[in-house]
Amino acid sequence: MTLAVILAPLLALCVVARGIGFLPALGVVTAVAMLVDAWEPLQEFGAVCVVLFSVLPVWFVSRYQDDGARERTGPMVPFLALGLMVILQLATGTPAAMGEAPGHAGAAYLPAGLCVALAGLVAVTCRQAMVWQWAGLLACVDGVMLSGVIENQVMVVGVTALAGCVVALLGGMCVHRVMLRVAVAPAQGGAGAERPSARSGGFELGDVEPAGPEPRGLGPEAVVAPRIWTEAEAAAEDEEPLPRPGKADQKAASPNADTKPETDLTSPTAEEHKDKAAPDAETGSSDEDDAETAEPQDAPDAKADPAEPTETESTETGLLKTDPSEAKTEDHKPGVGRAVPAAEAPDKAPEHTPDKEASGSTDQPAPVDPEEAEPVPRTPEMIARDVWLRGYLTERGRDA
């Protein structure tokens, strides 16, 4: 028995308690535990599979935004896993239990692989977030494969590798369909070069702005979002009954704002203003609740009244994942029409971190409004994006 074998169940408990973040560590430790005893082809295959199934999904998930699903399961779940591990250890690990079984005559051992698998099963069964369940299933793969390698069962290792492929591929497909991509905006100007700012990949406007026909340089007074903001605010407050002073202030200010009909032309300016106003994308406090993060329309109001807004803006920006390395991979993804973010923002307001582009848009619930999209010449990329978004919205609606 090695240290790695003992560490593996602990890391599996961490996966149950904290989520998918511990999965790469679990995979590496499991691979080490396999390779420490012997360096045969079976062990090598198992170790490679375990590392692949643990590292690749986590890397894949890191390209998507946290869907913000609130976990309703209590803090007892890791203890349930721990209790099951102890029961398994008592039932199988003691010399008395294993004495009569062939192959384990009299030797006390820790069924580490099965403990990891049990922890994974607890995570799958008790956790509600899809990513967490995925992590649990992958922990199961790790555990069963470790156990199969230790017991030298070639068939079990092969079948587990197949099952791991299935779980990883289908889980990745599901993640791709139900979660939003994280995208990083290209640096704008010299001032923004050193500060990464992340946005949701579904609603990039910056990519199409240069080609757009609209004139630049509209002042902040052209922003018409307050009307929208109040509606979305009311919707959010339905979910979050606790009154918050910041919101109350903003609400009081909103009727004074300009209420002329909303145009698409405002959004580029709003975008630029906001980018300059946001002090630092990295320093937002991320302990805001969902209702707060679901306020895409805070931003325009902030611009209309530049005295108070920076706190909410930095909070929003900080909630988004920032990863400068993603900029190149995401930049080729074209933006969508103006109407798209507008539809997206109210649709998944309670669950997703919004993007700032929604500030310059309407609150029409239709995913792609032809009247809205008309002024902008639709490129094939935009059409493809609309199709994707329509499917995405249907997905969210039905799953909800």
């Binding site: 239990a97 994974g120 099963l121 199969g148 068939m155 079990v156 197949l162 099952a163 599901c174 039905r398």
Partner: protein, 373 residues
């Protein structure tokens, strides 16, 4: 290569060939072709049952007569699924019942049950891929993958523990109950097209559980009987509500698991026949509800008699509990019109199903007396 070996190989390859032809055929003619291919598959399965490849057993491929008869039931389930469907536009969905039946049949015959589990996982993956392609189905597909994979990992964990130990038996029983989709424990499969994947998948899980009994030991059998009894009594308690009807869909698999736990393989085979021909989303029709509720004549009725005769040797208290549970479930859960209406169904699929159910109910005890099982 002798003729029986060739027949056996052909019987496994046939549904895959059928899937390829059905998917390639033009849409208007696809249903007709699918019926012909599935019918030929049934004939091949019966031929394999009658002329077993004796040399295959020496090479490790399973040659148990109950398993062969179970594959005949899976083939008839495919035929019935194809017959009661209208013409499908989606090519992948059209080929899915053929492919899932082929893979589950291969899983039942694989030399090692572990390999069978792997093939089941592959069948599940393909089915989920086909089901979850339309927009809005991603999470439903994920739920299927999750439950099926949990079941498979549980069985694998049990197989890794020492043979005959209590944890091994419990883990394998839990996994098989989830794979068989027993209602309170397994997943809620989707109503509209569960027969495409669910019927052969659960049938293969039942057939595999017979082969895993040697490894599971006494705890495995007890856990299977307990799970089956729990499902039967929950069905009885739920009554005719929506939940009750959902429970009633898996009534034959609950009885089949009790039979597997009690060692009554032939009874489990007869319940499997009822499951393949009348289970799933067919259970709403009156003839199917009557068959599932073990009304004579029909395979589940004969299976019920066999099961009770075997159970009484096993344990009297459990026999009484089972009889009471079945009677309560029949009285409380069968749809009211199921008792009287529609003695001979109108549609061709229903007629085929009724005929096969009655024929199986007569032939299986006859074959048992002749020593085939």
């Amino acid at each position: 290569m002798t003729v029986p070996v060739f027949l056996a190989a052909l019987a496994f390859a046939w549904p895959l060939l059928g899937a390829a032809i059905v998917m390639a055929a033009p849409t208007p003619r696809s249903r007709e072709i699918a019926i012909w291919m599935a019918g030929a598959g049934c004939a091949l399965a019966v031929a394999v049952f009658l002329f077993p490849a004796t040399s295959a057993a020496a090479e490790g491929w399973d040659d148990d007569p109950v398993q062969r008869a179970g594959r005949v039931m899976l083939a008839f389930g495919l035929l019935l699924t194809v017959m009661e469907n209208s013409t499908l536009q989606d090519r992948l969905l059209r080929g899915l019942p053929h492919i899932s039946t082929a893979l589950t049949g291969l899983a039942c015959v694989a030399p090692d049950p572990i390999v069978g589990l792997g093939i089941l996982e592959a069948a599940l993956a393909y089915g989920v891929f086909v089901f979850s392609r339309p927009a809005g189905q991603a999470r439903a597909g994920w739920a299927l993958v999750r439950t099926g994979s949990v079941g498979i990992f549980l069985v694998l964990s049990g197989l890794l523990l020492p043979s005959g130990s209590a944890p091994a038996g419990l883990m394998m029983a839990c996994g098989l109950v989830m794979l068989a989709g027993l209602t309170p424990f397994g997943q809620s499969w989707r109503e509209e097209n569960d027969t495409y994947l669910f019927l052969p998948f659960a049938g293969a899980a039942l057939l595999l559980s017979m082969r895993l009994r040697a490894h599971g030991g006494e705890a495995f059998e007890t856990a299977l009987v307990a799970a089956g009894l729990a499902s039967v009594w929950l069905t009885a308690c739920a009554g005719r509500s929506d939940e009750g009807l959902r429970l009633f869909r898996t009534f034959p698999s609950a009885l089949a698991l009790i039979a597997v736990g009690a060692g009554a393989d032939v009874a489990a085979l007869l319940f499997l026949c009822g499951w393949c021909l009348a289970g799933g989303n067919r259970s709403g029709r009156s003839w199917a509800a009557r068959a599932l509720a073990c009304f004579p004549p029909g395979a589940p009725f004969v299976g019920c008699l066999l099961l009770l005769s075997m159970l009484s040797d096993w344990s009297w208290s459990i026999t009484v509990l089972t009889v009471a549970g079945i009677l309560c479930a029949v009285v409380r859960s069968v749809p009211v019109e199921g008792f009287t209406q529609d003695l001979w169904p109108e549609d061709a699929a229903g007629r085929v199903a009724c005929s096969v159910l009655v024929l199986t109910g007569f032939l299986v005890p006859l074959a048992m007396m002749l020593g085939a099982f």
